[in-house]
């Protein structure tokens, strides 16, 4: 998980390994690899180069959730990118990284951003 307040401008060329920026509604900025973000159907559509969305042009997505929720969402996307093709035995449980306090908020965010039918 990388959390920084990065300043450099986003590269226009897109590749699997470049970074995309997620900004929470309370101003926290998260940088994640494009291929990690692609695990979210909604983010994938937002960043789709063929679309005319501002998100795709700037590689930046505004996410109307609190920072703690966006952080956990990024954490899950990284977890998914890392383990989704590895055997079950070697996959650690993600459950223990979830705090009950944010379960309800995270559920709503997950419902919107995960969108498994799209990914």
């Amino acid at each position: 998980m990388v959390e920084e307040h990065a300043e450099g401008n986003a590269a226009p060329a897109t590749s699997e390994n470049d970074w995309v920026r997620l900004i929470s509604n309370d101003g926290y900025t998260f940088l994640i690899r494009r291929k990690v973000a692609m695990n979210s159907g909604t983010l994938k559509n937002m960043l789709n180069e063929e679309s005319n969305f501002a998100e795709a042009a700037t590689n930046t997505c505004m996410i109307s959730e609190r920072g703690i929720i966006v952080e956990k969402l990024c954490e899950y996307l990284s977890y998914k990118a890392l383990y989704q093709n590895s055997p079950q035995k070697e996959t650690p449980e993600f459950q223990e990284r979830l705090q009950p306090e944010i379960a309800l908020d995270l559920l709503m965010a997950a419902d919107y951003y995960e969108d498994p039918t799209e990914s």
Partner: protein, 478 residues
């Protein structure tokens, strides 16, 4: 069985050995030469290493699949799915359901949205359902209770004793026992909405109605057991019934409608869509429906008689036109007897007929759904807009395939207050129709255009308006 393709010569005949060329008598034990063709004499067969006397017994039966206990062993394949974040969150909520404090401040999240999310993946269980329960709850809506078994449904009523409105979708496991428990556990219930309560039998319904004389809304969809006695019990017990929905009721008959006449004056919302079953096709006759509207029509604000095949223009002329006074919402989906001229005439003359009769005319309708009536077209649309245009907020004319481009264009002009519009499969709809709508309807939020082949990629868009189903756009994307 034989190595060679040729049939074995008859036993007792002479044959030349394929190896030593000596003549020999074919017997039961004669073997084919390997490699073929030909047959071997007894000494050559023995010399070749094969035993001519080896018994070719009946083929052994394949050992039956299983562990020998006689039962078939079912092999389970578990498709490994990566756990979704939604399911992980729901698991977590289920795990700490008894410790509400742990879930933080519930007040700031929209529990109804949570209920929808959990239902969407069919993950509402007896374990996590208490998340939505509260002694003070007056309303409860759960959108997929497939996994709640009768004890859980009983618990639901015990934990929400003050409910006045209850809506349960996919409540297929609701049994007589559950309904009997609700009789006493939910004394304040005023509105009950159930989707798929097909296990509940007639006596249980009747006794439930008797226990809830103050019921104001009874809305069920899909019941093969709700019968005439239930209908009578409902009307006799619940004198204040305002909202009635009996959709997909298998035993529906004309005789069901007569008790409803007694609700004249109180009933304001009525839905009798898709009556009957495959054994009881299109049971409601137009005459009986006209009589019903004559009785309850003046009080109705919402009427849904979709998928009643017998409804035709007569119903409009003799039922709706003279008897409705304050109808706001009309649904006649898939009533194929309706004609273009008939519907046009109905909307044209609705007001004047009332004026001639010296009564208050029906105000413009707000919601009209006349979809899946492919015989309707331009005339009906223009008359409809002429009558209800300014009041319309929701219009669905899906599959009016003959509606002309001009008539579709008038929607924007005449109905500026639309919120949602479905013009799917109206073949003449094109980009200019959409443009006119976006220009003049400021409150518009959704337009469905599935099957409108004349829309192009250049179909106009506007912030805040969802245009759903532009097929030209999809072709480009893929």
């Amino acid at each position: 069985m034989w190595k060679s393709d040729l049939p074995k010569p008859p036993i007792g005949s002479f044959e030349k050995c394929a190896k030593c060329m000596a003549q020999f008598t074919v017997t039961k034990y004669t073997l084919a030469a390997n490699p073929p063709p030909g047959w071997l004499c007894h000494p050559c067969a023995k010399a070749g290493g094969s035993d001519p006397f080896k018994k070719v017994g009946p083929r052994k039966r394949k050992a039956p699949a299983g562990d020998g206990s006689g039962r078939r062993v079912v092999v389970y394949f578990e498709e490994r799915k990566f756990p979704s974040l939604v399911s992980l969150c729901i698991d977590l909520i289920g795990a700490c359901i008894d410790d509400v404090e742990a879930l933080g401040d519930i007040g700031n999240v929209n529990m109804d949205e949570i209920a929808k999310t959990i239902s969407k993946s069919r993950l509402l269980t007896a374990q996590n359902a208490p998340l939505f329960y509260d002694v003070q709850n007056a309303r409860l809506s759960l959108y997929d209770v497939t996994k709640l078994e009768p004890p859980a449904l009983i618990a639901l009523s015990n934990l929400n004793p003050n409910l006045t409105e209850l809506r349960l979708d996919y409540c297929g496991r609701t049994t007589d026992e559950v309904l009997a428990h609700w009789e006493t556990a939910l004394p304040n219930l005023k509105r009950l909405e159930l989707l798929g309560p097909f296990l509940v039998k007639a006596p249980a319904w009747q006794s439930f109605f008797r226990a809830h004389p103050s019921l104001e809304g009874f809305l069920i969809t899909q019941s093969p057991r709700f019968d005439l006695d239930c209908m009578c019990a409902l009307v006799e017990s619940c004198k204040n019934l305002q909202e009635l929905r009996l959709v997909e009721i298998g035993l529906m008959q004309d005789s069901f409608l007569e008790p409803l006449h007694n609700l004249a004056g109180t009933l304001s919302s009525l839905s009798l869509a898709s009556p009957g079953s495959t054994m009881n096709i299109d049971p409601l006759s137009e005459d009986a429906l006209i009589k019903l509207i004559a009785a309850v029509g003046p009080g109705l604000t919402h009427l849904d008689l979709s998928y009643n095949a017998d409804i035709g223009d007569q119903f409009l002329f003799k039922g709706l036109k003279p008897h409705t006074r304050k109808l706001k919402s009309l649904r006649l989906e898939h009533c194929l007897e309706l004609t273009n001229a008939g519907v046009a005439e109905f909307f044209d003359a609705w007001v004047t007929t009332a004026q001639k009769a010296g009564v208050e005319p029906n105000p413009p309708l707000e919601r009209i759904n006349l979809s899946r009536n492919h015989g309707l077209g331009s005339d009906a649309l223009i008359a409809l807009l002429e009558h209800s245009g300014p009041g319309l907020t929701h219009l669905n004319i899906n599959e009016w395939k003959a509606a002309s481009q001009d008539s579709l264009q008038t929607i924007a002009e005449r109905a500026p207050n639309l919120h949602t519009l479905d013009i799917g499969f109206c073949r003449e709809a094109d980009d200019s129709v959409i443009k006119a709508l976006l220009d003049s309807c400021q409150t518009l939020s959704e337009v469905k255009v599935w099957g409108c082949q004349r829309l192009t990629v250049a179909c106009p868009r506007k912030r805040g308006v969802n245009i759903i189903g532009v097929e030209a756009g999809q072709l480009v994307q893929s």
